[in-house]
Amino acid sequence: MLTPEERAEIEAEFPHYPNRKAVCIDAMKIVQKHRGWLSDDALKDIGELLGMSVADLDGVATFYNLLFRRPVGRHVIYLCDSVSCWIMDGERQCSHLKERLGVEAGETTADGRFTLLPVVCLGACDRAPVMMIDDDTHFDLTPERIDQILERYP
């Protein structure tokens, strides 16, 4: 069941589109914001409101980089692995994060605190290397800076 809050947020999108199916990406983002990821049950809940099957929603969800069909940690680290960051030593930042967190790309730390996801260019190439953690963008990364930044995400 969608919570009243989830339902209200999704329904607030209805007037923006001529049909309910068009709302499905917004709807999945809303539910993911509340639950962290999109379980089969979550898709079923959304599907009932929008008149869509779980398979239809899964087809859409699996296309998009920012919709998660598996559980993630409390904080998601989005590390840019595109060209400008790569030139500016982005791979070193990636190795540092993997080593520091004890995970490979795409994995979640054993304590459930962080998930490490390499992502496409974050559009801040003049301040490369760049990563986002949750909603915050962090620039000009070095291993030392990364260590300090991680402390802010308990």
């Binding site: 589109y17 068009a22 709302v23 990406i25 595109s82 974050l122 003049d126």
Partner: protein
């Protein structure tokens, strides 16, 4: 307003966005008042055509001409979509525009809506642009409050709504028909053209799609006229351009300069030249999907026609600089990994070829290069040519690869012959 920098000259030095009052103080919404107060939609289109505004998303198509493609008798609702997906690697210009002056975009969209007789606009923004999203949402609320959006705008009889859509993330969303599918709640696969979006686009209705930077120019053109806009430029293409530089330059950044400023001026005067200890090798002039240019091209003016003559594309105008301490094969490998990952899987040359190329390049970097690899790579770039696929992803992926094979051939051969990356 600093007359020579209409897009960025009014931005606040503290990094905050201009709110409605501040935007109005520097002439904001005057273009809209002028258009709704006495210009016909056709007159707005004519003014934009005469300004030689060309699409800033990378293709450089005439904006006025694009708007004229919506037939006068086309059914309603008609849509305008602002493409703010900005997932082209190395590109960071629309971020600035949405974060710092969102009303400029909103006014440009209303003008585009009026010119094309549209009813509804969508701002399609990257999901990762959280700050931009908050600021655009606030600007939309302020515009509704002031009567610039909604029913009977400024008592003109014209009505227009704008909604903000935050993407769930995929490079394909920046391709215009992929974007339409994403807005319809589908996978962002491309559509076959024809029908073209002005005839049958979003939800099957007439749709005009413009890049954020393109739309931001429109209020200034309507307010100050086509001749003024053309006068900002040093080339046939009108206006200024947001140029950027990233990589190992002294001052990476973004600058609004006259269209047609040379690569050398951007690189040396604005970006400060190369960092100490590294030398210039080449550059991608406007994002990942543009051909490399090298030393001999540095005096090329950055506009759509001149960069094309030099064998590349201006693309988004944000340059990515390759230096001599960075492996060109590694750089191309990074680029092709990106394209392979972001391919939507719709067309065979793209999904099949990109994965293959990605593996060949990775192999070369790891000392597993084989004789014949370069011929395979060259074959793939031809296989990805325009016309072989529904969209421009694979043709775009060919550009940095085919030009790297031309300008950095010796380095590719060295990887194969020495069975290692000489930069590692």
């Amino acid at each position: 307003m600093p007359e020579d920098r209409p897009l960025t000259g009014n931005m606040r030095p503290d990094g905050e966005a201009l709110d409605r009052a501040a935007y109005e103080r520097v002439g904001g919404y005057k273009g809209l008042r002028k258009a709704l107060g006495g210009m016909t939609p056709a007159a707005v289109i004519d003014e934009v055509k005469a300004s030689n505004l060309r699409g800033r998303g990378g293709a450089g198509f005439s904006t006025g001409l694009k708007w004229s493609f919506v037939p006068a008798t086309a059914p309603h609702p008609r849509y305008v979509v602002a493409n703010g997906d900005e997932m082209e690697p190395g590109t960071f210009k629309d971020r600035l525009l949405v974060e710092r002056d969102p009303h400029q975009l909103v006014e440009g969209m209303i003008l585009a809506g009026y010119a094309t007789g549209s009813d509804t606009g969508y701002i399609f923004l990257r999901g990762e642009y959280k700050l931009g999203a908050r600021r655009v949402a606030r600007a939309l609320a302020e515009a509704y409050e002031a009567g610039y959006l909604g029913k009977d705008i400024l008592h003109s009889g014209y009505s227009f709504e704008i909604h903000l859509h935050l993407s769930a993330g995929r490079y394909m969303c920046g391709e215009e028909t992929g974007m339409l599918n994403a807005l319809e709640g589908k996978r962002a696969n491309p559509r076959a053209k024809p029908p073209f979006p002005p005839v049958s686009g979003l939800f099957g209705m007439p749709t005009t799609i413009n890049n954020v930077e393109t739309l931001c120019n429109v209020p200034h053109i309507i307010r100050n006229g086509a001749a003024w806009f053309q006068g900002l430029s040093r080339s046939k293409d009108g206006g200024t351009k947001l140029y950027g530089a990233s990589g190992k330059v002294k001052r990476p950044g973004l600058w609004e300069l006259p269209m047609g400023t040379t690569i050398r001026e951007i690189l040396e005067e604005h970006a400060g030249g190369m960092r100490d200890g590294v030398r210039f090798r080449g550059l991608l002039p406007g994002g990942a999907s543009t051909d490399f240019l090298v030393e001999e091209h540095l005096d090329t003016p950055m506009d759509f026609s001149e960069v094309q003559k030099a064998g590349s594309r201006m693309g988004t105008g944000t340059m990515i600089i390759l230096d001599d301490q960075t492996c060109p094969v590694g750089m191309v490998s990074n680029l092709e990994h990106f394209f392979a990952q972001e391919s939507c899987g719709w067309c065979t040359p793209c999904w099949s070829g990109l994965g293959w190329v990605e593996r060949i390049l990775k192999g070369m970097e790891e000392g597993r290069g084989q004789p014949g690899d370069l011929e395979k790579l060259a074959f793939q770039t031809r296989f990805w040519a325009p016309g072989h696929t529904f969209c421009a992803l694979a043709p775009g992926a060919a550009e940095p690869l085919q030009s790297a094979l031309k300008y950095f051939r010796a380095e590719f051969e060295q990887h194969i012959n020495e069975k290692r990356c000489p930069w590692k």
